[in-house]
Amino acid sequence: MARNTKERLIGKAPSYKGMKPYGQQKRKDTEVLLFLEEYEAIRLFDYMSLSQTEAAQNMQVSRPTFTRIYQKARNKIAQSLIEGISIRFEGGHFTFSIEWNYCPDCQISYSVLPSNVRNCPFCNSISVTKSNPI
């Protein structure tokens, strides 16, 4: 069985859902799904002008994997531009760069700091679960 795809770290999700071509006579039903990790690759490499190595480190993938994600993003954007298909940001294998945990005793969610242990900051309990409050 093939190995599961590793989750890519995402710093910022887009604040809108997608893009539509303008001035078309007939609307096409198809759309391109741009995965959020592909959006992140474009953001890091093209928008923030990082090197591929830096961008790969940011997303916690290897440099060749980053290149593959980036290439797919370029292909999808090109397809959308040339064929006049709308783009929707959806899906992919990703996780946000901040990890949130939930403590059922204190009923709080808290962000896990990079240097920190995962225990609940209030009661020090270790029986915490991962959560996604945002």
């Binding site: 910022k12 604040s15 760069s97 949130w100 204190c106 009923q107 962000s111 900051p121 020090n124 945002i134």
Partner: protein
């Protein structure tokens, strides 16, 4: 340790406000000296960048934790960069209740 929280009313018994940037008051509690201080959020009505301005305001008080009902994406970025721990309690919990949960 210094803990900040978003407050709806200017008292320690106030429930935690739901939005970080648009909260009218911030309570600041020092767990060592047990001192409570109130800061008015002068940016709570600003329609843009309220979260980052509020984060700047709180960073001046050397806070380590911040409690709020919700954080905006820019505020999260800024707080993360400064290594501030963000805490989201269940709805209705007051700052006083949360302080009493700290067991160390």
């Amino acid at each position: 340790m210094i803990i900040a929280a978003t407050l709806t009313e200017p008292t320690v018994k106030s429930p935690i406000n739901n939005h970080f940037g648009h909260s009218p008051y911030f309570g600041i509690y020092n767990t060592k000296s047990k001192e409570f201080k109130l800061i008015e959020n002068t940016f709570w009505k600003s329609s843009k960048e309220a979260g980052t301005l509020a984060a700047d305001l709180l960073l001046k008080s050397n806070i380590e934790w911040i409690i709020a009902g919700r954080f905006g994406s820019k505020a999260i970025e800024q707080l993360c960069r400064n290594n501030i721990r963000m805490i989201i309690p269940n709805e209705g919990q007051t700052f006083e209740q949360l302080i009493s949960l700290i067991k160390h």
